[in-house]
């Protein structure tokens, strides 16, 4: 399974990963090799087999909607790259 350069560019855009030219080329090669090894799964008959998301029989783990103490704002902002008046400061999301 040979990944094209366009496919790698497309996927990198989907997961917002900035890659250099060198990385694009290297990953294209390495990932194509890795994907070849996944073909083996096509040998398995899974026609009546349900998928497993988690290996334990838990479903709909919920709690009562009760207010409980949360982390202090200062603690949460302590690692913020940019903050202002208790907000995380980010680049403009919408165009003008």
């Amino acid at each position: 399974m040979k990944l094209s350069r366009e496919e790698v560019v497309h996927i990198a855009a989907l997961c917002r990963l900035g890659l250099s030219e060198e990385e694009l080329e290297r990953f294209q090669e390495q990932l194509s090799n890795i994907l070849d090894n996944f073909d083996i799964l096509q040998q398995v008959d899974t026609s009546d087999v349900p998928p497993t998301a988690y290996p334990i029989p838990l479903e709909n783990v919920v709690r009562e909607d009760e207010v409980a103490p949360s982390s202090p704002q200062d603690d949460i902002l302590a690692n913020a790259p940019r903050q202002e008046e208790g907000y995380f400061r980010v680049r403009a999301v919408l165009e003008q």
Binding site: L3, L17, Q30, L31, P50, I56, V90, R91
Partner: protein, 489 residues
């Protein structure tokens, strides 16, 4: 015996009888770290001042007879578990300066028990790797041969326990990351049943595969650590609400009445001859100890586990690592606009193995490929799980090598991702199935450690401990220490 070579239970006896203080024990360990670290580089952060403070507190507790088996005993925490006020980097540039405002549940539990934390352990970045070579900071060396890898991704913790830089450690295991380095460093490593130990505060890699576990010098120590860290946590929605037994009651030195199976598929093509010989001798020893062994067990879906894992884990990882966008914490690149900032933050902040896996996972989940890859892998996962279930109806435990080879040389596999992935071929299926796995020292091949893996059905850690303990008492492989003074071999 050097104080830093004690086990938890040995240290506890001395502390209880006031023959040594927590402060003396901690100082001995810290001095040893200062002496040995330049050779092995197991620590991202050494928390010497904190450790001495905690040791003093532990001594107060001991004075009022308020001690637990872990009180005053120095430990290393892998650097992907949040420790309040102390950098938690996952050995990544992305989190190089991240200081968590909270403790992981397991860290809280250990603190309550009186742990003395000596530092945070180096690892493969975001737990993605099998050799510790993918740490963004530096490589950790195997103390048994400094030119070889310690295994990964819990390489730092494994090395620290092996050299005496910590009496025990906590690691995490998603595809073998506790067991494989434990095997490579001649220590005991347990990956508990999925859901047995809380993942709250563990930086997530693959949410349906990750588990935190103990890395110790012997099986009794593993039981002591599990007694503290296991248990239901409402803050982890995948935590299972089963009572925690006293695991030290499983330490029975014989295997009479136990039925063991050896799955042929784990004696893989390309397995090192010497490792195979060590394994056959080890399993024969289990028979001597009273177990009946069936050497002809077959788990035919084993060969699909590698592909299933390398679809499922990267897919879950790409979702878990989407949070690293430079907005709320971590590395943040200015960029020309929001998207450019995000792409460059992630491009510069993540190392190559992490990026490879994010791309793999994104591809496997993307439109047009989801069914063929991710969904298919999940179905194969069901078959692998069922196969283990059926086997455990006939056998109390399964025995396999932990790794097909002894520790390989630094640099040997790091440029060939596929070769690297093959290091975990014996450990991956266990995470896929969610069952527990214990690696114990089983001997040496060319002077390098070989681990034996013991597998059981979900929540059967007691059976694994019994088998590991009986084997360990009869052979003593884990008592050997690496000779670092002589250059590590």
């Amino acid at each position: 015996m050097n104080r830093y070579d004690l086990t938890i239970h040995q240290a506890h006896q001395l502390l209880k009888k006031r023959e040594v203080s927590a402060l003396e024990l901690t100082k001995a360990v810290l001095e040893h770290i200062a002496h040995v670290e330049k050779k092995v580089h197991a620590f991202v952060t050494v928390t010497a001042d904190e450790a001495l403070r905690q040791a003093a507190q532990a001594d107060e507790r001991i004075k009022s007879d308020d001690l637990t088996p872990l009180t005053g005993v120095p430990a290393l925490i892998k650097d992907n578990m949040c420790t309040r006020g102390i950098a938690t980097t996952c050995s990544s540039r992305m989190l190089e300066n991240f200081v968590p405002p909270y403790d992981a549940t397991v860290v809280e539990k250990l603190r309550d028990a009186g742990m003395v934390m000596v530092g945070k352990g180096n690892m493969d970045e975001f737990a993605m790797g099998s050799s510790n070579e993918h740490s963004a900071f530096f490589i950790t060396s195997n103390p048994w041969d400094l030119a070889r890898v310690p295994g990964g991704s819990s390489g730092g913790p494994a090395v620290a326990v092996s050299t005496g830089e910590a009496i025990y450690a906590l690691g995490s295991d998603t595809g073998g990351s506790i067991r494989q380095p434990a095997g490579f460093c001649n220590i005991v490593g347990l990956k508990p049943t999925y859901g047995r130990v809380s993942r709250f505060g563990l930086v997530a890699f693959a949410s349906s595969l990750d588990q935190i576990g103990s890395m110790t010098r012997d099986v009794a120590d593993s039981a002591l650590v599990m007694n503290v860290i296991a248990g239901y946590d409402p803050r982890d929605s995948t935590s299972v609400n089963y009572p925690v037994p006293d695991y030290t009651k499983s330490l029975i030195p014989d295997l009479k009445g136990l039925k063991l199976g050896v799955p042929k598929e784990y004696f893989v093509e390309g397995m090192q001859r010497g490792v195979e010989e060590v394994m056959r001798t080890a399993i024969a020893k289990l028979e001597e100890l009273g177990a009946t062994v069936d050497w002809e067990v077959s788990l035919s879906h084993t060969k699909y586990a590698l592909a299933a894992y390398y679809i499922i884990a990267p897919s879950e990882a790409m979702a878990n690592l989407a949070r690293y966008d430079g907005v709320k914490y971590g590395f943040s690149y200015e960029g020309k606009n929001m998207w450019d900032a995000m792409e460059k933050t992630r491009g510069y902040g993540f190392g190559p193995e992490v990026k490879r896996r994010i791309i793999l996972g994104t591809y496997a989940l993307s439109a047009g490929y989801y069914d063929a890859y991710y969904l298919k892998a999940q179905k194969v996962r069901t078959l692998i799980r069922r196969e283990f279930e059926e086997a455990f109806e006939r056998y109390d435990a399964l025995i396999t090598p932990t790794s097909p080879t002894v520790p390989f040389k630094i640099g040997e596999r790091v440029d060939d991702p596929l070769q690297m992935y093959l290091s975990d071929v014996c450990t991956l299926p266990i995470n896929i199935a969610g069952i527990p796995g214990l690696s114990v020292p089983a001997g040496f091949c060319d002077g390098l450690p070989v681990g034996m893996q013991i597998l059981g059905k979900p929540f059967s850690e007691e059976v694994l401990f019994r088998i590991g303990y009986a084997y360990e008492q009869a052979t003593g492989w884990g008592e050997r220490r690496p000779q670092l003074e002589k250059g590590g071999k």
